[in-house]
Symmetry: C2
Subunit: 397 residues, 2 copies
């Protein structure tokens, strides 16, 4: 007899994971080399060589009672200091180690932040399309997401719709730029307007409204775009970060939360976050990997790998007559389904061993997501399959 | 503006962590070597040497895309198989990898199990004294713990009180043997009676009632006691395990859940646990450490280290006139406060630089807990401080 929430979750489980499983099943049938699996955001370029050396040095040189032992629930002070220093040097912030809490990935971080700020019945505004797990994370605390539709030209938020989405129950706004699933980077102008609206709404409703910035793709940007850090726009901004993409460590579950001093009652917020980290059962971020991430904090992932995929896929699909949003960051391509019901399109693609994820999983039907973090050779070969799919829909004719 | 739950949690935060912080503050004042900090269950004997080698071999020999990559939310199949095989060979169980889910420590595992089975308003029976975090974990899902008083001679559960504690809201019973905070191992006879009562109550209330066994101390047993595995007593038993103590890896957050096929609708339960693992934000247990734990699954911690501490402390304190429950397992000693209000006793102990944790943190006032996972040299020296404390209370006179 499972809990009602888990019964419901089982019924409507992750569309991304479901497609990942379908891809695996298909691979067992037709051979893995013949399946073009664009379902999962699993980094395809290995962790920098420095990570390997850092881990070996750590086990050789650190007392195992420290390396594998308990520390403060918020993480090792030296690791938190390394993160604070890194952010300060890159973004001109003024963090100390106390502003940083190490977390079990960004997913852990978001749950900790939600636990700390959300009461049952609260509303969390999200910008569609958005990472569907936000729904589960809000539901963990009996809060609900309120979806704001995008501008369908740019896939930036529709700011009039954003303004209209606030109620007296709004406690937080989640933002994710570079965006999963569109690859869009919100412009500086958009960010400034979002901040302005938030300030107005805080004043209107006479309470704190938090901007929660989910930043796993911060460093995955192309065409000379500049890395951004969102705390500069709005005082009540809390950042959740993950090293999953920047260091290709998704399985290790390592990330952090940054709470600037500008956040109302920041010290109390950080105390709440520390308690939430413990009571949710995370206890602390994995210890060895905390120290490895700190040692490798200036390492960079192989951006060229993704950029090459991005170009081949975007140009190839556009040439075939598909309507694509040009990705500016992350490793996703957002493609308009040639038919209104994109589930039908996803099923048609599967006939050609193309595994896509339907947009409704991201609160935005009529589109599909392609995660282009697979080998370039496969991307190139996939274009033949896409050509057949395009022909089926009479694209480019 | 923090959530109401976190505000309440901040007000009544972990007494164990609070004493740990007091210990650190005291250490800063009088020097760490002069503080006898019995507050935290932090293993004091290092991880087996094999762990170091396993980690180095893994980073040298494993494709980093696999070693640090996403796998199934329930963990690597080979790691789950290693756990299943290990349990089967030791306890005669018949697990396959599908019965095992790797988790972010036992704390993560318990939260996942609770998420999977608890609805708001449900009750979880716990045997006092018990690890106080169970309260937080149940509260995460709006369930409440119902405390069953111990037999004050043996500190096994009072089974008549247990029988009387069930209501139509009872969904689970949490058991922890070897026990934190008492060090007591529940006897085979007690376990069989608990199972019998559970069967009767399932029949009476016509629903599943789960026995959730929290087993981080399974291997920490003394005086020739035999390792026990609780699934043999009762069909609806779910085991949560942690490598924190057995491999001295508490900071790494690595453990597992075992769901035997005998559990009602086990397959569905495992599917629910997989979803809960993901939606709670754990996603998966840390990847490298999963593989390191599997490689070291037959390694043992230095039990002699703890056993020596146990004997010196138990014999020393008994000789001074303190009333102690003789520890049979784990690394805790449970001591009767010479005064009814044990908070007063804890404060008196602090004058002699002795950091103890009050029993009320474990739902059992009038007692204190000592975690004897510190150096033997300190344990020996602490007896002089305890002698002064004993004198203050006119013990042994």
């Amino acid at each position: 007899m499972l809990s009602k929430k888990i019964q419901a979750a089982l019924a409507g489980s992750s569309a991304i994971r479901a497609m990942f499983v379908e891809g695996k099943e298909l691979a067992a049938k037709v051979g893995e080399e013949n399946v073009f699996d664009f379902s999962l955001g699993n980094p395809a370029t290995p962790a920098p060589e420095a990570v390997k050396q850092a881990i070996k040095d750590l086990v050789d040189q650190t007392d195992p009672l420290i390396l594998h032992g308990y520390m403060s629930n918020s993480g090792y002070e030296d690791v938190r200091k390394a993160v604070a220093d890194n952010l300060n040097s890159r973004f001109g912030t003024d963090f100390t180690w106390k502003n940083i809490v190490m977390t079990v990935g960004a997913a852990g971080g978001l749950n900790i932040v939600f636990k700390t700020i959300l009461d049952p019945g609260d509303e969390v505004i999200v910008f569609a399309p958005y990472f569907g797990e936000y729904r589960s994370y809000a539901a963990n605390f009996d809060a609900a997401v309120v979806e704001v539709a995008p501008d369908y030209e740019t896939f930036e938020p529709d700011l009039a719709a954003f303004e209209a989405a606030f109620t007296d129950k709004t406690k937080a706004v989640v933002i994710n730029t570079p965006n999963n699933p569109t690859g869009v980077i919100y412009s500086d102008k958009t960010m400034r307007r979002i901040a302005q609206i938030l300030l107005e709404k805080e004043s209107e409703y006479k309470k704190e409204i938090y901007l929660v910035s989910d930043e796993p793709y911060r460093e995955l940007i192309y065409d000379g775009a500049k890395e951004n850090f969102l705390t500069k726009y709005y005082h009540n901004t809390i950042v959740g970060y993950s090293f999953s993409k920047s260091l290709s460590l998704p399985g290790e579950r390592i990330g952090y939360i940054a709470v600037p001093n500008e956040v109302t009652d920041a010290e109390n917020m950080l105390a709440g976050i520390e308690v939430a980290n413990r009571t949710l059962g995370f206890v602390n971020a994995p210890s060895l990997i905390q120290k490895a991430a700190a040692a490798c904090i200036n390492e960079k992932t192989n951006l060229d790998f993704y950029d090459k995929n991005r170009k081949v896929l975007y140009e190839g699909l556009s040439r075939l007559g598909f309507t694509c949003i040009k990705p500016q960051g992350a490793f996703y391509l957002w493609l308009k389904s040639p038919v209104e019901n994109e589930a039908e399109f996803v099923a048609a693609a599967k006939k050609y061993n193309l595994i896509l994820v339907k947009g409704s999983a991201f609160g935005c039907s009529g589109y599909v997501r392609l995660a282009y973090c697979i080998s370039n050779e496969k991307i190139v070969r996939s274009l033949d399959a896409f050509a057949k799919l395009a022909k089926e829909y009479h694209l480019g004719e």
